[in-house]
Amino acid sequence: MIKIAIALGVLLTAVAYTVWLERKVVGHIQNRWGPTRVGPFGLLQPLADGVKFIFKEDLIPPHVYKPLFIAAPMIALIFALTSISLIPVGNWITVFGIHTPLEIVDVNIGLLVVLGITSLGVYGVALAGWSSNSKYSLLGGLRASAQMVSYEISLGLSLVGVLIMAGSFSLRDIVDAQGGTFWGFIPRWNIFHGQFVAFFIYLMAAYAETNRIPFDLPEAETELVAGYHTEYSAMKFAMFFMAEYANMITVACLATLLFLGGWHGPLFGPPVLQAILPVFWFVAKIFAFLFLYIWVRGTLPRFRYDQLMAFGWKFLLPLAIANLVITALVVALSA
Amino acid sequence: MVPLSYYLVLSGILFACGVTGFLIKRNIITVFMSIELMLNGVNLSFVAFAAQWHALSGQVFVFFVMVVAAAETAVGLAIIIAVYRTRETLNVDRVNLLKL
């Protein structure tokens, strides 16, 4: 239970600070400072936002399908948070005599479960869109769910390549498979181990899954006001916001686990240090991935909806299948 | 250790609910969903028997059922959309002319 509490706490703070990070980075990209007022370098800004969200008036518009309207944000948040539980942060450590792997649950089909949960996430978005009974939100909801469903496939397929390399669904095995190095200095991470294309596909699909910038259509301000969460105020909006960022983090974790070799990294220093280092490496990689996220958000323009769908089905999917075939071939030949 | 029959009873009940839904419901989509429910009931019994006789093939069948269900849903929903477009209603009773 402690682990769950720790994991949850870490995740929430991480979410908050990703928001902060994002606003700072985007600000710097756009040549402005980002939040600096609250606390040093605006570090307390997320706290301020949180307080704001809590105290804001939580208004529920009329003619709204009440039960679902309230349930939608919860569903989104729940699924976003649960996926974190499966992600192994680090290797075995013994803390206060408890020898536990650094993850909440170890399931030998971990990856699949994560995929399942992300696919369930769609409901939150769809129901939100529908229940708020307004054209914009409905359209936003529809678009979002369509987008997420279609990109989910390419996401899944891109992962299969990694699975073939690793031979098992369990995330831990996948990470272990990435231990060691090529010719001394190149780490055996999947990204280098023949799965670069897969990483690229995964990246694209991940952005689409979390409705981030290039695929930011559902909440595109210009057209659909705030997309599916237009009608939501205060706390419910906060939930959606957090769900979104949680998804981002989950996707980031997955990326590191599958492609960037998880907690593998050069280990040096005293044993205590060595125990902590894998976790450090893991966090560092996630941070890098998130930074990439934000960076992309700051620079790339938004896709038009048909471009988005066309890109998803006509480019990404075939690429994923091709990659899959190639890796299968390679693995079959090498084995 | 749960006796196999409990699973079967559960799948039976699911199947029964599916059938009644199939018969009672007026909205085409709901009828469609009850069919899915029936299929799930069947899946459960598949897996239950597979588990009892330790035969993996039972599971494989579940996959095939799923694939078929997916295909069926796709086509079915397309039809429903077409029906809705021409009939403006989803009520089963009004969709009774052979020419769509």
């Binding site: 031979g167 | 839904g21 239950a48 295909a71």
Partner: protein, 178 residues
Amino acid sequence: MLHLLVFSVFGLVCVAGAVNLLVQRHPINSALSLVVVMGSLAVEYLLLGAEFVAAVQVIVYAGAIMVLFVFVIMLLNAGVEDRSKGSRVAMLFGVPGVLIGSVLVAWVLVARSGTGNVAVGALPGPPKVIGWLLFHDFLLPFEVTSVLVLIAIMGAVVLANHPGSAQQRSTQPDKREG
């Protein structure tokens, strides 16, 4: 004991979901109740040891098919199902009939197949074995189903293509032929 407890809990959830599907008047509610049923079924599969199936169930059924349903419900936005007066005959015969039927079936199942009971995680083998089975013993069905899916996709596309063209064809048939 835990196994039985979990089974009965999720069994009840399943049944509740199924009944809810019947009782609910708005399709969206019944759709969600169906998702609940599928989720609980996934858990049942886990109890039976078929993780891969459970996962696939969640992904495929709950994740994809039900999304389609919700999608269509949202798209069509059909109103609440009007409750028919429910002919007395149906009530008179239907309900008791179903009850008796289910009791009968249940009795038959319970009495007859008291043979084996199922242990947790009884199903051997990681997904690898299933994969192997899928592509060796059941290759032909696999290929056939793939073709089936292809046809389904095409069908769906054709049926649901741009309403405009369908509309024109049906509304002014004579002009075109004339």
